[in-house]
């Protein structure tokens, strides 16, 4: 765990929200798996961060949760993005892009 860089601080909310726009309603495990697979194993979200983060998103009203049956007939809690969550995601992506560009300008000065 310590030898993987993991998820940059402050981006977990954005990553979860984005995952939900791409997958539609999904459970915690599905979100973690998607992040890991889509990032070729770089973004390994720990359960200890994922579930508190999901609770924070519930509190902010950016997602809602309900229980559904999975494909292999298990009961799982699915999270769905709310309109507020879509708005929040847009704002978070915007500020993330801005910071990223700023960092890139500093560490790759020749390319800009």
């Amino acid at each position: 765990m310590a030898d993987t860089p993991g998820i940059p601080p402050g981006t977990l909310h954005m990553l979860i929200l984005k995952t939900l726009t791409r997958l539609g309603p999904m459970h915690g495990f599905g979100i973690a798996l998607f992040l890991q697979q889509t990032s070729d194993g770089v973004l390994e979200v720990e359960e200890g961060s994922l579930y508190p983060a999901l609770q924070r998103l519930l509190l902010k009203g950016w997602v809602v949760a309900d229980w559904r049956q999975t494909a292999n007939n298990r009961r799982a809690r699915y999270y769905t993005l709310t309109p507020d969550g879509k708005k929040a995601l847009r704002a978070e992506v915007q500020s993330f892009d801005k910071v990223n560009r700023a960092i890139a300008q500093i560490i790759h000065p020749a390319e800009t």
């Binding site: 459970h27 915690g28 495990f29 973690a32 798996l33 720990e46 359960e47 200890g48 579930y51 508190p52 999901l54 609770q55 924070r56 519930l58 509190l59 902010k60 009203g61 949760a65 229980w67 298990r74 009961r75 799982a76 809690r77 507020d84 929040a88």
Partner: protein, 208 residues
């Protein structure tokens, strides 16, 4: 992200926190089961999942009731302790009661005598003057009409000066006599303190 909405959800959580916590637990069990299926190793899935109790606690803390819950736990613990040692509890509680009662009494006395003004208009301008003597130890002597008149004529800092001497008297009529608090006062007394008495028979005073 509006605050009233946030608080509505927080309160919702508080009222149904049993359900919320049960759901979280089931959700984490599901996660672990999926992980076990994926890796084919239930033991490894469990250990790599880590401390589920800690995660649940951290998830619970998100809703912001942790402080309140720990206070509630402290209160329950204290009540249990008191039940076990009623003598100690009684002494502790009555000590507190006496101390709080005493403090309140002293403070209300101080407030009435030192802080609160008398119920007269411009009460902060009212002042008591006593006649004393430099040669004698008595500070409060009686004032003669002559002195009073001389003071009235020469005063510069006061609007008005009135004489006042409290005493006790008896009221007798048919039935039981009654002891009364009374005062002798100069005719301008009520005027000086700035109030209208409900009943006043004023003699057109020749003297004061």
């Amino acid at each position: 992200m509006s605050f009233p909405q946030d608080w509505k959800r927080r309160i919702d959580y508080l009222r149904q926190r049993g359900r919320y916590e049960g759901e979280l637990e089931e959700e984490m069990r599901f996660h672990m089961a999926c992980k076990a299926e994926l890796t084919g190793d239930a033991r490894r899935a469990r250990t790599s999942f880590g401390n589920a109790t800690l995660y649940r606690e951290e998830s619970r803390a998100v809703w912001g009731w942790t402080a309140l819950e720990s206070i509630a736990a402290d209160v329950r613990y204290t009540i249990r302790g008191f039940r076990k040692t009623p003598a100690f509890a009684g002494i502790a509680i009555s000590t507190l009661a006496v101390a709080i009662g005493g403090g309140t009494a002293i403070l209300s006395l101080a407030e009435a005598t030192l802080v609160r003004l008398l119920p007269y208009p411009n009460a902060d301008e009212l002042t008591l003057i006593f006649e004393g003597s430099t040669s004698q130890t008595t500070v409060r002597g009686d004032t003669s009409p002559g002195t009073f008149r001389a003071l009235q004529e020469s005063m510069k800092t006061l609007h008005s000066l009135a004489l006042y001497q409290p005493y006790e008297t008896n009221l007798t009529d048919e039935g039981e006599p009654e002891r009364l608090d009374a005062a002798l006062a100069s005719a301008n007394f009520f005027n000086s303190v700035g109030i209208q008495p409900r009943m006043l028979k004023e003699k057109k005073a020749s003297s004061f």
